[in-house]
């Protein structure tokens, strides 16, 4: 009895070896590669660039946008950060940054040049304003590449503390002058770049 089982199993093991694999191409598809691209290769620090990832498969399976499936990484977060949806936003410094999108061993990267913000200017349509007036202020930025653009939505707007009770300032630069006469000191900043503006409120 001791040797019965091995004797029985031997032909069974030989039997399973009869089905040699044909080495054919499988019918189930697989991932072939992931390619990463950006809608721009240069950007102002206050702007954003969309990077996207596209997966390519074997067996003529249609390729797909897999931007939300890959893990995004910036080589230098001081220059630019990237979120899970592939939106690249400039940081405090300028320079070149490599943005990578990976999924396990697959992935790709793009190189993006970020132009740092060099200076800011707060602009009002008028310096002398009246009480209870609403007006839109603007922030103009000058970048490393010499370009200028409206960066009103990318800066922090602050109203001087002494005027807070009488006036209000929204983060898009919309100012309500309030019901008191005097001066309104407006400050704008982005990282360590600042600018200020003084308005005069009259009845």
């Amino acid at each position: 009895m001791r040797y019965d089982l091995p004797i029985l199993l031997l032909p069974l093991l030989l039997w399973t070896g009869c089905g040699e694999n044909a080495g054919n191409r499988p019918i189930a598809g697989d991932i072939d590669s992931i390619k990463v691209e950006a809608n721009a290769t240069a950007m102002a620090a206050t702007a954003s660039v969309q990077v996207s990832a596209r997966a390519y498969y074997t067996l003529d399976i249609p390729d797909r946008n897999v931007t939300e499936d890959v893990e995004w990484l910036s080589s230098n977060t001081t220059i630019a950060t990237v979120d899970g949806l592939g939106v690249v936003r400039g940081g405090s410094a300028g320079g070149n940054v490599t943005v990578s999108g990976t999924y396990e061993s697959f992935g790709g990267s793009v190189r993006i040049t970020v132009y740092a913000l060099k200076s800011l200017e707060a602009v009002s349509p008028e310096i002398n304003v009246t009480q209870e007036q609403t007006l839109r202020l603007h922030a103009l930025g000058t970048f490393e590449d010499g370009s200028k653009r409206d960066v009103s939505d990318a800066v922090v707007w602050r109203l001087g503390k002494s005027q807070e009770n009488n006036a209000s300032l929204e983060q898009n630069g919309t100012l309500y002058t309030g019901d008191a006469n005097g001066t309104l000191d407006i400050n704008i900043s982005r990282y360590d770049v600042n600018a200020s503006l003084r308005l005069y409120v009259t009845p």
């Binding site: 019965d4 029985l8 399973t16 009869c18 694999n21 499988p26 399976i61 249609p62 499936d69 396990e104």
Partner: protein, 196 residues
């Protein structure tokens, strides 16, 4: 006055439930055995964005088993098997397939010298593959079939059976998309059992 404790009621219910089991396994024996099978398995693979593809692959397998039951009645059986396909389905190199099956068998004694039975069960398996993101994929299956025990001598009996098995395979992830697969097979088994 006669009072019935709650514990007694539970015992009675348990006994009533166990009675059929006890009757079913009244002449139960422990048995061991081995089988082999070989048949074509029919795969349907749906790659994303494409029509389903079908493929047939020869599946040869062998299994060892341990069971507890009556050759003329009910038995519970656990199988551990190994098999290979003659074609690649999921990767350029599909290799070893290991599986476990758990079967419930009901055999009959018609006094004809053999004991026909039918069996149902479920199983799980693991196929080694060579894909980019995984090295193995698992499967689950349900099956049912018929067969017969043919007693030989000295506690040995020959077993022949045919089962239909429906198999579901783990979805294959491909980053943002997945491959869905299923298969079925009609497997003729030949084997031998030894009953203690």
């Amino acid at each position: 006055m006669i009072t019935t404790k709650k514990g007694d009621s539970v015992k009675r219910v348990a006994i009533l439930l166990l009675l059929p089991c006890a009757a079913a396994f009244a002449e139960a024996q422990l048995y061991f055995g081995a089988d082999c099978a070989g048949a074509s398995e029919y795969f349907t693979v749906t790659n994303p964005g494409t029509d389903p593809e079908e493929e047939k692959a020869l599946f040869n397998s062998a299994q060892i088993k341990a069971g507890y039951g009556d050759i003329k009645g009910y038995a519970l059986e656990l199988d551990f098997g190994y098999g290979r396909y003659d074609k690649n389905i999921f990767s350029p190199k599909d290799t070893d397939y290991y599986y476990f099956d758990l079967s419930l068998i009901k055999a009959f004694d018609f006094h004809i010298g053999v004991f026909p039975f039918f069996k149902v069960g479920f199983g799980t398996g693991e196929l080694e593959v060579d894909r980019t993101l995984v090295n193995s994929i698992s499967s689950g299956s349900f099956y049912g079939g018929i067969g017969t025990y043919i007693p030989i001598a000295f506690g040995f009996d020959f077993e022949a059976s045919v089962i239909y098995r429906d198999k579901s395979w783990e979805d294959l992830q491909m980053v943002g998309a997945q491959v869905e697969s299923g298969s079925y097979i009609v497997e003729p088994y030949l084997g031998i059992d030894y009953r203690f």
